[in-house]
């Protein structure tokens, strides 16, 4: 039987793997709900959703690969988030150029859309990456056994 770590770090890995299901679900449902099929959006978002799901399953099933899988999943999610934010920003810039100030209603709508995307596709993967980053990984690795403490020398340890 494969050894299962019950450390806090392992629990966090599993929590992130399960947490990844939320943005994957939101993006998947959002993609499915789009009323028309446009292949660039379908392929990009669909691949990202599959990628996040596969890496989450991997993180749960293969503890030794969990950190790497979560890093890949978070990276995919972040990349998709940046593409969405970038596309939205450039579209807004275009519309602002054409229409000028388009009033409170338009601004409120755009802010709402932005704040619906940012938490799932940018903030969350950043937090996840912060957790699973190599440095953090090293810090969380169980400490190597310390060498046995030597017996005090005759000089009272002055040579140490």
């Amino acid at each position: 039987m494969r050894p299962v770590s019950h450390s806090g770090a392992r629990r966090s890995e599993i929590l992130f793997a399960i947490g990844n299901l939320v943005p994957a679900l939101v993006l998947g449902v959002g993609l499915f709900a789009l009323p028309t099929r446009w292949w660039p959006a379908d392929v990009t978002v669909g691949s990202a959703v599959v990628g996040v799901l596969v890496t989450s399953v991997c993180a749960v099933a293969r503890p030794e690969l969990a950190r790497l899988a979560l890093r890949v999943g978070a990276g995919v999610l972040l990349a998709l988030g940046l593409v969405i934010v970038g596309t939205a920003a450039l579209s807004l810039a275009f519309l602002a150029g054409i229409h000028g100030d388009f009033g409170q209603g338009g601004v409120a709508l755009m802010l709402l859309v932005t704040f619906l995307v940012l938490p799932y596709a940018v903030v969350y993967p950043l937090i996840e990456l912060r957790f699973v980053a190599p440095r953090a990984s090293a810090a969380l690795t169980p400490p190597a056994p310390k060498p046995p403490v030597e017996a005090p020398s005759g000089d009272g340890g002055a040579a140490a």
Binding site: F94, I98, H99, G103
Partner: protein, 553 residues
């Protein structure tokens, strides 16, 4: 990748995005407050452009030396002057991007092909019906600024080249335009302006009544072409307003037209519905036709016209009451084959029935009419306490507030008043404000941030607002709330009057005379259906009557 590296990449990405966004907005933006450098002078006759000249904005535009004077005399036409206040580049000739690159009603296009130049100004684009172009992708309806194909065809025709040649070699520029001649209207809401606008709307409807009593149902103001289709609830609604405005104006041709339309309703559309009579065509009667029919006939009889309609009023009221359920709701259809009601509900009909019964009761004196109307109104404004969305989600059902107003002195319903006040607060707070390209839309009900507002959407809400205002005063609602309500009405009615075809952009119309007083679908889609002037006119005239009664303005 370390976190520090990731942070740097993200920082660079967002910085780049910011710069790119700023560059795009700056390259495409225009300053509409600038003084114009050039003006496009055109001569129009019969809705067609006959001549054009582009002159310095400082050029003299009147007198014998004014540009296109000879053409103006030759065509006995109308001269328009559109100032070019600013220009910007057009990013792409991709149809989607090109179509979205112009503000409807405000922008035009200039194309340069070698040493030749052609212009499609806002008047041209109105005449071409090129604004408000819908791009339909499945169930999504994207509203583009212009229809690219129509614009390209027109410009290619102007330059005598093919569309492909135009797209390959033409250099497109966006023109930010402002009308100088005729000047853009900016009506103030006064008794005089309201009277002019309201009576003009009634007169438009009167002119639209044919000899057989039906209306020219939907007409495009640009080419004066009538669309197919007819709708009896709208016939009845239009007749209601036509009668009200005709009686107010005491205008014989309008009264004659109202009587013709009412007679057509009473003699041509009243049929047996079981033991009653209803307004219907075919085997299925809808409640809305009978309700608005009852409203129209009541208005006429109450105005001391056609007293012979009284039996029809009693019949219609009895039919509507027979469709009511014990809980106050109405069954909205009646199967004339099976002689039984259909307990199906659609938008508007319950409110229309409540309002019509309340109005008819003034003539029938039958307490059953008031009681039925009152129960229906209560049903309309009663929602379960847990349904919080009721305070945030409103439709366009304005008849409820008409019914509340109609019944207030006989069966006051404070819950209905609260509903109407709350709805109006939402209408005010979601109204368009501060669109840089189109400040004249302030106060209108939005149809989306980048598209022109529909006039009828604003008009129906203002009908409700005006009805609410009257009751709010009677009910001693706090003055601050009344002032806010009135301010919203002033803004929205100014918007409606600004775009009434009174005369509107008459240069681009084939026959502006017959369209005078009509209210178009949007500022840039000049289709006029009979219910547009009805709704707008009802709001305008209702407000005018209140101002007259109070001696304001």
């Amino acid at each position: 990748m370390s976190l520090r590296t990731l942070g740097r990449i993200l920082g660079a990405y967002f910085a780049l995005l910011l710069v790119a966004s700023w560059l795009i907005a700056a390259a495409l933006g225009v300053d509409r407050r600038r003084a114009p450098a050039e003006s496009v002078v055109s001569v129009w006759s019969g809705g067609k452009r006959r001549a054009r000249a582009v002159v310095k904005a400082t050029a003299t535009l009147s007198g014998p030396d004014a540009p296109l004077g000879a053409e103006l005399r030759r065509w006995r036409g109308m001269r328009t002057v559109e100032d070019i206040v600013d220009t910007s580049r057009v990013l792409s000739t991709n149809p989607l991007l090109f179509g979205a690159s112009f503000v409807p009603g405000r922008d035009g296009v200039k194309v340069t092909l070698g040493d030749r130049v052609a212009y499609a100004t806002s008047d041209d684009l109105l005449a071409l019906k090129a604004y408000d172009h819908p791009l339909v992708i499945g169930p999504i309806r994207l509203q583009l600024g212009v229809d690219p194909d129509v614009v390209w065809d027109a410009l290619a025709g102007e330059l005598g080249v093919s569309k492909d040649e135009l797209l390959d070699d033409g250099e497109f520029t966006r023109l930010a335009l402002r009308h100088r001649v005729p000047p853009e209207p900016a009506p103030k809401v006064t008794r005089a302006s309201l009277r002019d606008a309201a009576v003009a709307a009634g007169r438009y409807l009167a002119n639209a009544v044919k000899t057989d009593g039906t209306y020219r149902y939907e007409v495009n103001a640009v080419d004066n072409e009538e669309h197919p289709g007819y709708n009896w609830p709208r016939h009845a609604g239009a007749t209601w307003y036509l009668a009200e405005s005709a009686i107010y104006a005491q205008d014989p041709p309008m009264i004659d037209a109202a009587e013709r339309a009412a007679r057509r309703l009473a003699e041509g559309a009243l049929v047996a519905c079981g033991s009653h009579r209803c307004v219907a065509e075919g085997d299925r009667a809808d409640l809305g036709s009978s309700a608005l029919g009852l409203l129209a006939l009541s208005e006429i009889v109450e105005g001391k016209l056609m007293p012979e309609l009284m039996p029809a009023i009693r019949d219609l009221a009895a039919f509507i009451r027979s469709q009511q359920r014990p809980d106050g709701e109405f069954m909205h259809f009646y199967d004339r084959q099976k002689n039984e009601p259909e307990d199906v509900q659609v938008l508007y009909y319950t409110g229309e029935a409540a309002f019509a019964l309340g109005r008819a009761a003034r003539l029938t004196g039958d307490p059953k009419d008031v009681e039925a109307a009152s129960r229906a109104l209560d049903h309309l404004v009663t929602t379960p306490g847990w349904y919080a969305a009721a305070h945030y989600y409103y439709g366009a059902e304005h008849w409820t507030c008409h019914a509340m107003d109609e019944l207030w002195e006989r069966a006051p319903n404070p819950k209905a008043l609260r509903f109407c006040l709350e709805w109006q607060e939402m209408v005010r707070n979601t109204a368009i404000r501060g669109r840089a390209a189109s400040p004249e839309y302030d106060g209108a009900t939005s149809a989306g941030p980048f598209v022109p507002p529909a006039l009828v959407g604003t008009a129906t809400r203002m009908e409700a607002a005006v009805a609410t205002l009257r009751v709010a005063r009677l009910a001693n609602v706090p003055p601050s709330q009344i002032a806010a309500l009135q301010a919203g009405i002033d803004d929205a009615l100014a918007f409606l009057m600004r775009f009434e075809l009174n005369p509107g952009p008459s240069a681009v119309m084939v026959n502006p005379g017959v369209m005078r007083g009509g209210f178009p679908n949007t500022p840039t889609d000049l289709d006029v259906r009979i219910d547009y002037p009805q709704h707008a006119g009802t709001a305008l005239l209702g407000y005018l009557k209140q101002l007259e009664q109070r001696g304001e303005r």
